[in-house]
Symmetry: D3
């Protein structure tokens, strides 16, 4: 079947309900009601799947054939209401719990960043507190917005408050957005995060940043959360809250590869909003990030420990 | 000031807070959390304002200078939460109530069609039950969607159930979308609506349709609700649930002009989703509909009766 | 599952390989190597599926629930080489033959118009010569182009030469393109076609045109072939050889509905080239044409006679 | 040579400087400094040429092979300064004068509508006062804008004042834009124009409108000026001052064909602004209008009388 | 008010006419008649304002809350004729003079680069000759184009000739375009400019470039002029004369921040042409440059000396 | 003539058939039937010409006026069938042979990468085996695809098998795509290629890479083949098989300039697919690559040796 043809799963992988179980699942979370600016990430999972059609089996940068080493499958999308954030978050948490019965590891395709909170709640039940390696233009540790406690700007504050995170093991990579006030960064630090900004990455280079992440995370179980707006808008126009001064796709892919060796227990790629994309460049970049995350999974020995 | 320059209000009208009171206000309702498919109508009010820059003072089709006859002003946007439909609907209702103190008539710029419900609630307090002339590809009298009672697919069912509408005086114009079942149309009729579909308009011509609307509405106070998806996607690509087979902009503008002589007490133009627009054609069409609605208002004698 | 979510089949129908057999199948033919101007129709089937997400079960214009009356399924795409027209045509013919074992009727999603030739060859084996109702801006009865006998400009000449068509029962609807010479129309007539141009449709109205088609086709088994460029470029920018002066989507959908009562034995919707589309308006229009074709199928009594 | 290949002249015609003389020339006037809203028509001639690649030699609607009957050639673009309207207008007038030595008839490709004034000045020297058949959403008989007497909103007022027009023989077709005041239409009438608005065309039908134009113009030498914004923005998004409620491309092409039999001495197609176009639909429509104008020329007997 | 809502001023700042006076004003100069290639920068100020909606009060890279330290206000747009460059330049100069009475510092939003000349004339009256730090793909010291002395390719030559610049203190940053001849660079040097090309910036790194600028400018009053085409077209497609090989937005923002400590007396961000933008990425980048410039202003002690 | 005006040749150079002979020709190869994913590169030559309008005569980075030193001309496009790969490849080979009679050096404008094979065949007749410096995201040394031996994924394998290449002198620059298996790289090495991946270029810097290429190629006659997908999709969205993690346009242009001093005997720039481009950024980048290649040619002494 030519790559442009056929009903599209991620990277043309089998559907999970046809293979029953898998080592790694890709699952769509088409939800964007937590978005504060441009909505549209509800169409993100479909766009990332479409952007994955050119992916081939062998990853030369990591020297691995991830789909050969592991059974990887597409679990389709969770059914999530767009009309009620609280209910949606519960639906996601339940869906991720259920998915874990069939696949010990998953990469979630957002959807907006709200989805990280219910995923972290589910992971906490299996792994206890986790480290978070968070690629984003924004801190996402704000408190409330229009009185709403759970939106795409707050998942990591809520997670920290609920004890889902390993204080001192979390790190933001690529942040650069302007902030609400000079207390945002101290507040963020108190929640347990270290900031390596987009400017820092330019100054230090990707290898040194990779080393710093390894030093901070060490052997903790880790959740890798990739907001596609960590990329510069040139590389990812199709997102909801774009901020200039971001990473190139080459930098992001290299950094994700450098997560190899960490004990990654879950991951997401979020905030792809295809109505703002052009020629699928955001979706294609996101699909490659997912592919690198699956490759990183496939380099680990055995299933994640808590599973 | 060239038409392409200057901070943009609708048709370069004064801001309401600078003139204090007005005969007619234009007000933005940047809300799209009730959207079931493509979101983005939160950016609709801004897009319609941008699309209104070429509007000039004299309306040759109706022979009126609406901004000369009436003080018309731009009331900016209401502040509405994107994160909670119930709260948003209350905010809109309160905002429309407050606006009525300063301007007896308003054209609301959506936002998704959910906004019609709180507007109708506010109008009911002033005018009692109203007729609705509803331009749309869809009936918008569905019951619930994902258990949510208040979304952009349900405002007229909720309004009918709450007694806000004049049974027997309401009419849909331009509907054509496929339906959930063969009971949708009988259910809709029981709520008091008459259907003049897009195909009927092609067959009958706009004048006959205008006559039919006048016959049905007669002297009732009437709310004119224009979902921009009543236009064919060729004329309005920038909308959330496009359906082919719709009206041309020439037909829609002619039909809106034919509302002259009705006792129009309120109006909306909704579902402009600019991320899907091209060259502002949807926004420009919507702005012209607003202009025709204001012109229709300006042809009436005195303020609406219930005011 | 929200309509924007889930792996996408046409109208969210089941996949044919999950239901085994169906009354009607939708099948993608992602092939565009026969294109003389803008390529890209290889992505047409996927785009039409994406454009079909809003389709609901009940067709109010025809008063039928096509998916309830008939088992309709998505047969995915045929695997077709993009590198060799002759081989591709054979692959399509074999694929359509095989599909007929599982579903007696099919709507093919193009792909460029070349695909009509192998489909007609397959239908001929089952039904003998068929009438063709051909919606298109072009005649598609040209002889060769760059010496190539089988391209998207020639399927109906080749079919006529091969005896696949019922001479005197075929009709072009909506043609308007400029021609190579003044013998093109007489040549076309000699192949058995009658022309009702886009201008004729404007003059006569859709009902009279429908009557003319019924008079010409009568009780013959008929193949309905819809090149989306029969629509005006305003309604279908996403196509390969656009010609202004075309039909509106309202006219086309009405005309397709008027095919009810004919003995339709096969159909295609071709030449959707999504790289040139905007906001999916071409794909959505095409998806609605497919829906109307399935509805027309579902109004017939029993399977097609030759089956 | 495939139609998508080769250096592009209009309809792949020879360049005028290669053939020396021609019966009809196409000439680009890449000038947009007279634009009051969206600029960009300087790229119009190139876009129209690109949009003309699919034109074939035989025009079935008029039954003529225009390029066979007449030598038609592409005179490339005039070199016109973008920085000074007065100088530019003189450059255009001189260029049109010079072109007339090599080709007695020309279709000018705009550029903005300012270009009509120097063309009319040149035609006046050859033919005396001419009738104007003016397709446009706007009257283009305004007086000044920012004190500037010569812009794209004023060519026909200046022409009337200079005695270039036959009072009583001029007609606007398709106008609909809102106006500056209730004196605009009486002023326009005093300049010698009759208005057949877009709404009138919908009501009367194209044949009756064609008859009305013939009755008004009779045997006068006539200049046909087609502002592409006479089309609805759905059909022509790529223009500078779009107004909804316009003509379909089918209506416009039919009306242009109905100019057959008039003594057409010159023509333009202006205001194509490709930065706002999509999939070249505006440019393709404009190219077809040019083709119909050349066809109308080719149906005349001999060169224009004044030549 | 959500960030996507409300009538838009730059960064949602108050309008200058509401606050009376300000420390820093943002003012739009919607003028593009000096453009030699793609026009459209007349829509630049509006686009930059729309692109500024996500800006938040605290600038973490510079550690400053610019809108808290200084009263910053939006002075709307100047009314400038699009039809006459000479008159326009006088209107801009007068407008900037008048604005200086109400706000000692301003960032001008272009508009094309022509606007720098009247601004420099106005600044010269207040500060005498100034240094210019000029970010651009082009030198903008050409002499004439089509005999026109004042266009977007000539402001700094005219300014140098008029004695508005400090010879020896001016610098181009990011230039890379091909030139008319091998004398362009020596000519430019004679006018007092030093060139640090885009390639130099890649080789030296932003810090070294910042140091070089400080060394060259020292304590001179300085005008910072940012042509958005200094960015690579990937980062700024929405501009009139794009040249590949440019800066990333991360580099540009870092360089602008490094202007801190200079005595900046005025600034512009020009050549945003939104018709060519995608997903507002150019406008957003430009808005961030404005924000950094205001931040740089806010780090200075007191008003500029000459004020 | 303003740069936006006039019939467009590459960089407004004369047409070859007007000057008869040239030192360097630019020739279009509008062919894309060898494309495995997104087609459309048949429109590439026209797009690159349009993207070259801003090129000026002096190249400051290389200090050369290439069009002054050499007669450079545009040879228009070759006429190539889109319907048959074998025939097309023969047409290209014959066309390149014929062109060599009139211009000893040429830069071919693709078209898809298939075109490199017939060019190499032609070059082999004149120069014997050549080195290849190949900029691409992909290896293009795959064997067959859908049994087809000659497609855009295979030109360098076929060339190596045919003995057209200098084993040990060839190099890939910028590759990064995922591969079919772990044998792809060893297979590629056996064909005589060395890989310097996109990641290697980031690590080493462009100067070191340039040195490595010179060391490998030395004095061999060399063919420089630039697939525009070597650029990151941010810099070149308009291509058929985009892969994130690519070069910036600044890196690519610098690397091409570093080819100065090699004995370059031919070159191509391929895979520009304008339907996926935005604001011509891909076409403009490609045009600049062509300009740099011509500049590199112009720095050589005399015609290439084999000529």
């Amino acid at each position: 079947m030519p790559r442009f043809a056929g009903l599209g799963t991620f990277a043309r992988l089998p559907e999970l309900d046809r293979v029953g179980r898998a080592d790694v699942a890709v699952v769509g979370l088409p939800f964007d009601t937590g978005t504060s600016y441009r909505p549209g990430a509800r169409f993100g999972p479909g766009a990332i799947r479409q952007g994955s059609r050119l992916l081939r089996p062998y990853n030369p940068a990591l020297g691995v054939s991830p789909f050969a080493k592991f059974q990887v499958a597409d679990a389709s999308d969770l059914a999530i209401t767009p009309f009620d954030i609280d209910r949606a978050v519960k639906e996601i948490e339940a869906g991720i719990d259920a998915l874990a019965q069939r696949a010990p590891r998953a990469v979630a395709l957002g959807g907006d960043h709200t989805v990280a909170l219910p995923i972290l709640r589910s992971l906490h039940r299996r792994f206890g507190p986790v480290a978070v390696v968070h690629f984003d233009a924004h801190l996402d540790t704000w408190d409330t917005y229009f009185d709403a406690p759970v939106t795409h700007g707050t998942p990591f504050r809520r997670a920290a408050e609920e004890g889902l995170l390993r204080a001192g093991s979390c790190v933001h990579l690529g942040t650069r957005a302007s902030l609400y006030g000079d207390q945002d960064l101290p507040d963020d630090a108190r929640l347990g995060f270290h900031v390596i900004s987009a400017g820092d990455i330019a100054d230090l280079g990707v290898r040194a940043v990779g080393d710093a992440v390894h030093a901070r995370v060490a052997t903790a179980p880790v959740y890798v959360s990739v907001d596609v707006d960590v990329l510069d808008p040139a590389h990812a126009p199709g997102t909801g809250t774009p901020e200039p001064g971001g990473l190139s796709s080459r930098e992001l892919l290299a950094l994700v590869r450098l997560m190899s060796g960490l004990q990654v227990v879950g991951a997401d790629v979020v905030e792809v909003s295809p109505a703002y994309d052009h020629a699928e460049i955001t979706a294609i970049a996101a699909a490659h990030v997912v592919y690198e995350l699956i490759s990183v999974f496939s380099l680990a020995e055995g299933p994640p420990e808590g599973a």
